[in-house]
């Protein structure tokens, strides 16, 4: 193996783009690894950890290219691939405008030029608050996708926003739908009368997709960021979102999607909703509370709509035998979906280990081999260092699915797949291949490995719900549109008694 590390000054690309560039360069024959990123502390650290000898003097404005290949020829081929990919990007960036035109360098500048009302900020976490403040000062509402924003900055940002009557959705806000525009990771749902206020990204996607499948539409989905309903942040964005939806003519009912929230914040929001005269239902994920599917069903009942049978697709070629392994292995892209799986599973299985464990359950690193019942979130920070979110770059999870196929203790593989804008353009094809391989490996070892997939999406999504579901079912996976139902199906495959929704708590928030 031979290494090469090169610093290119005055070249800049965003991190997601560079992760995709790295991914493409890695496909060059003979290239073992390619880490191509701006010279941030994080990226340089990753390169050094991977064994590259990175010279000093690279800064966050320099592009650093670290390549490892089997010989010099392969290294040269890797560089050629990089040149070609960068050239492609360059040509794309020059596609419009005369040579002396200057692109806006700040959100404020872009806002002045266009009169846009909303900014979508997905810049690196330590700088994101600057871009968000710039947007707020320019009078724009912000969807702040970036994470790693300190809570004090979040509070200052939200106070500044309230003073200017603009909304900050985030930080760490994965999904929003505003005026029909799907922002971030978002599904294409029909327009309608239900407003969604969401402190949880994939949770909101599950809720909106189920509403869509039930024939109900969404007026807007306003994200809050995962911490908004904590005592510290105190629902600053939630209050603004609720007021805006209450004044919105299209919205008749509001669903608030969140992880367990601070009592006083919930009480405060309920008071506000009553004051505004807007009916609110809660989809709160937590122990002893209705699951998201149940919460959607309550909402449908509240607006007088029928609850349909949530679509499922049975696995093709399933042996129907009881699985040989005893453990549940959940490999998720959506953090909230993973949480929901653990809440439902632990009632039957007891503690579930995870890289994002529920309170009181053991924590494991997502890169370790799991023992016993385990649910991993591949979207967690630990597993996204130096690579894009698994909804964009699924390679790490696909590799893990294949590994689990060879593990005799793995009884049922529980997966999610989230469609929509921002997600991988053909996620089902690659996932189906991995499922097929994992199952073939298990079969080769004389075992049957049932696979259950939660598919979050709509038929209007760019990837199309039905064709994705059929591809997965053809690969031998049982496919569910309700995550709660998928988890229960996985549990019954393991021979564990499926838990039912605690009916007595249906009316609880």
């Amino acid at each position: 193996m031979t290494d090469s590390v090169e610093i290119r000054r005055g070249v800049y690309h965003d991190s997601v783009t560079l992760m995709q560039v790295s991914q493409r360069v890695r496909t060059t024959p003979g290239v073992a690894d390619a880490l191509i990123g701006m010279g941030t502390e994080l990226n340089l650290g990753l390169m050094r950890e991977t064994g590259f000898d990175v010279p000093d003097g690279a800064g966050p404005n320099d592009l650093v290219v670290a390549l490892r290949a089997q010989d010099d020829d392969a290294l040269a081929a890797g560089r050629e691939m990089l040149t070609a990919v960068l050239q492609e990007l360059h040509e794309r960036s020059r596609a419009g405008g005369a040579t002396t035109e200057v692109a806006p360098r700040t959100v404020g500048s872009a806002a002045r030029r266009t009169g846009a009302g909303l900014a979508l900020v997905s810049t690196p976490g330590q700088h994101a608050v600057l871009d968000a403040l710039d947007a707020v000062n320019a009078g724009l509402s912000v969807m702040l996708f970036s994470d790693n924003v300190p809570v004090a900055d979040e509070i200052a940002l939200k106070d500044a926003a309230a003073a200017r009557d603009v909304l900050v959705m985030g930080p760490d806000c994965g999904t929003a739908v505003v005026g029909g525009a799907a922002l971030g990771f978002a599904n294409v749902v029909r327009p309608g009368r239900i407003g969604v206020v969401a402190a949880s990204g994939t949770g909101a996607q599950q809720v909106m997709c189920l509403l869509d499948l039930a024939g109900e539409g969404v007026s807007h989905c306003l994200g809050l960021g995962g911490r908004d309903l904590s005592a510290e942040v105190g629902g600053r964005s939630a209050r603004q979102a609720l007021r805006a939806l209450a004044a919105d003519e299209a919205t008749e009912h509001v669903v608030i999607v969140s992880k367990p929230a601070a009592e006083e914040v919930v009480a405060d929001l309920e008071r506000l909703a009553a004051e505004l005269g807007v009916p609110v239902s809660w989809a709160t994920l937590g122990r002893g509370l209705p699951d998201l599917t149940a919460a959607v069903e309550q909402t449908l009942a509240a607006v007088g709509a029928d609850v349909p049978a949530w679509p499922t697709w049975p696995a093709e070629g399933s042996s129907g035998q009881a699985p040989a392994g005893a453990s549940l292995r959940g490999l998720f892209c959506g953090g909230t979906l993973a949480d929901e799986a653990m809440v439902i599973a632990e009632e039957v299985l007891g503690p579930v280990v995870s890289n994002i464990p529920l309170a009181g359950s053991p924590r494991v690193s997502g890169s370790e081999r799991a023992q016993g019942h385990a649910v991993l979130d591949f979207g967690d920070d630990e597993l996204t260092q130096g690579r894009a979110h698994p909804m964009i770059d699924p390679s790490l999870r696909l590799e893990r699915i294949r590994t689990e196929g060879a593990d005799p203790t793995c009884g049922v593989l529980l997966l999610d797949l989230v469609l929509g804008h921002g997600a991988h353009p053909d996620p089902a094809g690659e996932l189906a291949d991995a499922v097929r391989q994992a199952r073939a490996t298990a079969t080769g070892q004389g075992r049957d490995l049932p696979v259950v997939v939660t598919l979050v999406g709509t038929e209007s999504d760019p990837q199309g719900l039905v064709s994705c579901a059929e591809a997965l079912a053809a690969a031998g996976a049982s496919v569910f549109t309700s995550n709660a139902q998928a988890v229960r199906a996985a549990l019954s495959l393991l021979g564990a008694a499926p838990a039912t929704t605690p009916a007595t708590e249906r009316t609880a928030r």
């Binding site: 806006p104 009169g115 997905s122 525009a181 007026s219 603004q240 007021r243």
Partner: protein, 481 residues
Amino acid sequence: MSTTEQPLHGLLTRDPAVVAAGAELFADALRDQAVPVADVEWRPPMDGTGEALATVLADPRLTEANALALERITSAEAELVRVAPASEALGLQRGEFLHSGPPLTWDRASGPMRGALIGAMLFEGLAATEEEAVERLSGPDISLAPCHSRGAVGPMAGVISPSMWVFELRDPVHGTVSHCSLNEGLGKVLRYGAYSEEVITRLGWMRDVLGPVLAEAVERHGPVDIKAYLSQMLQMGDEGHNRNRSATLMFLRDLLPHIVAQVGEGGRNTDDIAEVCRFVGANDHFALNLVMPACKLAMAAAKDIPGSSVVVTMARNGTDFGIQLSGTGDQWFTAPANTPEGLFLGSYGPEDANPDIGDSAITETAGMGGFVMAAAPAIVRLVGGDVDFALTTTRTMYEITLGEHPALQVPILEFRGAPVGIDAVAVARTGVLPQINTGMAGRVAGTGQVGAGLVTPPAEVFVQALRALADRVSATDGRTP
């Protein structure tokens, strides 16, 4: 809550239009939905400014303070009201000298600054020889102060001594006054550090003839509207820093009747008057010394606005580059000046150039000079670069300024207003540095001009300034009950 206003400025009812910063993927996803998207060409902020930027951007005073600064800058007027000796106009005492840029001591002064100070000592009769001048300048009897500390400006070395005559400009809107020396022409001149006999003789003539004749002409004419020259010169292909021909000729045109009328009065003979006209008309840079104090008035109007991040001063003394912000009072933020790059006269080359010098960057501070290069494409033949560079430069400066000057317009950009009001926040946020067109002085005292070119401030001054502004924000927060 009953209000006719839509909450969130109608975010939920208007057609979505989005500004996207960060991952291109999300912008592309919006374009796929036919949502209009403006992409930000994002870069990390200048090293070491992240925390200060977060503090300053979260200061609730910032937006309004900067809007007020912009309003004051663009509403400032500039009238030439008199010409008088610096001793009178500025109250300069014998042994007091003003110089360009941030504060400076003799031991740190560069070649051209030393040359100019030596020349001023000889001119004032404070020394008979160069050696004596040097000795006294390094001693305790001579006091040096920045022109800016007296509301004045001076090109290149910017040395003003009590006997030199100065223009006095007044802003009737804000009631401020500024001063600038009279321009000596090109070649071997004091401001470029030359102090030969030819230089001292010329200064004497300027004191005895040029100054008094111009003073009388201005007196007879009444206040001369210099701001109008600034607007007009941009329409005539000059940018006010390295091209001042049109304003020079407009000035001469306006004063000519009042200059010529002085023949035979107060002992002025035809030769004196003819020489004054020839001197002013033949010096393409004569009006630089009117443009500069006019720009100074605009920036003085924006001084001392609490919370404002607007740069009100950019100035160099040949050793250091210094800036001042509206929100940080008279505090200077300095770092070693860069050396300009550009085109050289005769056989001079890059090794002959002194680091950046002069208060003339007040033109860029007020949206003239390098900021309106697009209005003066011919400038590239003097400072280097090509016409596309001139256009790109002006367009880029909009990214670091607060707004557009309604009276200073750039014809080739469809009469778009000049980029004005440099925002230190935007500079730190983008890493884009203000572009300055400048003359180059020889690094050895006595050389004079060696060329002209392009230069930027050292980034470090913006880092310091931002931090100081952030400290003041934090201090203010602490006092708020």
